[in-house]
Structure formats: structure tokens, C-alpha cells
Symmetry: C2
Subunit: 222 residues, 2 copies
Amino acid sequence: MIGPVTKRRTDGLSKDVIVRAAAGILDEAGEAALTFRALTARLDTGYGAIYHHVANKSDLLAAATDDVIARVMTGTADGAEPREALRTVALGLFDAIDAHPWVGAQLSREPWRPALMEIYERIGGLLDALGVPERALFDAAGALVNYVLGVAGQNAANARLLTSGQGDRSAFLADVSARWASLDPDRYPFVRRAAAHLREHDDREQFLAGVDFFLAGIATLR
Amino acid sequence: MIGPVTKRRTDGLSKDVIVRAAAGILDEAGEAALTFRALTARLDTGYGAIYHHVANKSDLLAAATDDVIARVMTGTADGAEPREALRTVALGLFDAIDAHPWVGAQLSREPWRPALMEIYERIGGLLDALGVPERALFDAAGALVNYVLGVAGQNAANARLLTSGQGDRSAFLADVSARWASLDPDRYPFVRRAAAHLREHDDREQFLAGVDFFLAGIATLR
DNA sequence: ACCTGAACACCGTTCAAGT
DNA sequence: ACCTGAACACCGTTCAAGT
């Protein structure tokens, strides 16, 4: 019997290479697919080599998330008018999390890492530029960041459901809508009415509408 | 050698008993402690018995979450003026998630389950009673629920950090505050300023402040 | 310093077998 | 119908050993 020909990489490993490979697996196959076994296979290496550059799995996820967020935060909407810049940054985050749902899950799970600090800095700075008074500035930034995190978590959960359940989006929405429409109208009057709007609603637009509610509320303080 | 004396329960098992036991483990020892092995030990039974009443772990977590949320949603702030009722319901959710952080994590993870429908119904109904116009009603409810979910996720993450890191809360805040204060003032001007507020800030009050921003923004529509 | 990969200590879940 | 518990197919992580 001929022994297995395990290819081995000749160039050196680095945290950067590992993080990029992890992000690739996460994007292509979802969060459940990121295992150290899958990583060693993709990188043609062993467990120890990975652990030599990365503390553990949670470190790996955090580093990959920081990468994505940093790319969104730098350069987006520089020099624009504060209110418009806030909307642009918020939409940039929404789109990034939509494209990489694992980022949303990670932000909800470990929000004290650098990625969230970047978000907080950017949004807080723009609210300051908008003229939000000092006494409300930090509450306002906290609220807006929390809102973005909430949407991030939802998006990640929806993406997980849609990829695992292999149904397409409109079929899923139609299904939920039909279930909501058949609820007891005495117990669930609001959700029943919402059912009709659900099928035609646009997640991106609804996200922006929420940002606008915030900004309108904050504007009443001035 | 004398065989092990494994106690066996004499009364029948039920989904309710299992869900309550799971909630007990989650409250006492956190999310990582909820394993089927721990459950069989606590209930003096085997795996099959549990799987006979519960589909899988995710079903178990969802059921436990629905229980907690249903208790918060029913009876809280009935008959109060809509604006005040909204604040009361929001605070009730905040406190419940603070007491049971695993509820927050679950709401961010699987938001299409009954628990979220209850929240959506309650908050949407109150916004309707508040006089929010039809065209904005569903966006407003979506935004407010997302905000609550965001806080829920944060709270759960913080609780996980504080129990696993075994440091007390004020020491943790002082540590983060010190780290933020020592950041490069050119790159992180906002976060540096926020550091001072962090030590004395009240999570509960900041949460309510966010709700008020929303309500103020929504009020501008009328 | 950097890497290997067998081994350890766990998981959730299944299923033939019992009552 | 309800329950048992050995077994399966995985995990993340460690560590003695190699270069």
C-alpha cells in the first residue's frame, strides 16, 4: 500500500494567512464549517502550526471580524456632511454583515473587541459632529450602536436559516407571512397586520428607517 | 464489587419538567454548563428519555426562552398610558435578560421563534396605541425590537465575560475605562472621551435613554 | 522558532434493546 | 408509550516529539 501523499506548505504560516483562510471558510460554508480540521486541510498543515499563531478559535473569529469591520470603517463616507455620513456608515455596516453573517454573530457575542470600538468611535464622532449635546452624546452613541448590533444579530440568524433550510428568501417570507396571517386576531392583532407588510418589505430600507428614527429623536434635543 | 446505585425517577417526565431543569442549569451555571449529560444527571434519567420529549438542544433553548419572555409579556403594564407602558415593557425585557443572559443570546440567535413574536406584538400594539401612522408603524416596531435585541445580545456577552473572568463589575469597567483612556487621541478621540463616562454609567438608564430617543423620533412623524 | 499529528476530554445525537 | 445507556461521529485543544 502506498502511503497518503499529504501536501505540506513550503512557505511560512502567519496569523494573517490563517485569518484569511478562516474568513474564506466562513464565507463559503458558514459558521459551522469553521473547524480546526477544515483549517488544517485548507492550509496543508497541522493543528499545532495554527495554535502557534492563534490563541484559540474565539481569537480567530475575533481577528477575522476585526478585519472586515476595519475595511468598512476606513474610508467610508469621509468628508461628507455628518447626517449623510452616518447613514452611509450604517448602510456600509449593514451590507458588510449581510455579506458576512458570521461577523454579525461575532459582534453580538464578543462586543468588547476592537471591531466594536471602531464602530463606536466612528458613530460617536459623527454624532458629535452633528452637534449632539455632551450630556446625551454617549447615550445616543450607545443606543445607535446597539441598534446596529441588533440588526447584525438578526441578519446573521436569517442567513443561517436561509442557507441551512435551503429555501429561497421569498418562499421563506411568504411562509412566515402566511403563518402570521392565520394567527388568532384577538391575541395577535398587530402581528397579523404586519404579515401583509412582511412579504414586500425591504430589510435594507427598514434598517435605514430605524436609523432615521434615532436621528430624528436626537435632533429634538438640540 | 457492588454496582453503582443510580437513582431513577419514579414520576413521569414531561417537556415542562425538562425545560424547567434546563432553565435551572442555565441560570445557575451559564450556557456552557447546559449539556445533555448534565440534564440526565439532574433529572435522574437517560438521553433517550429527554429526546422523547424534546427534538434537540436548540428546541430546548427555544422553549426555555419562550417561557421567560411569556412571563414578562403577560400582565406587565396593562392598562397604562401607551408611552409609559412602552417604557415599562422595555425595562421588563431588560431586567429579564439581565437576570437570564442566555435568553438574550437565544433571542439574537433564533429570532423567528414565538418569544420574539410576543415581543413584536406587544411593542407594535403599543406603538399603534400611541398613534404612530400606519406607513411608519412596522418600520418603527422593527427598529425598536431590533434595539431591544441589540441590548439583549450585549447584556448576555457582558454577563458571560463577568462570570467567566470572575472579576467584579466595577473592576472590569475601571479596566476598560483605563484602556480606552490610554488610546491614541488622534485616532480615537470619541472613545477616549467616552472612557470617563463609562465608569459611572448605568446600563439600565442608558437603555431607557435609547428607548426615549426612538419614541422622540417617532413622535416627530405625527 | 516553527511545525507534526496522535491523543485527550469532551460534545449532541442515535438506536437496539428493554419495560 | 416511555425509557435505558452503549456507541457513533464529531468537536477544540494539548503536547511530546520532530526539524
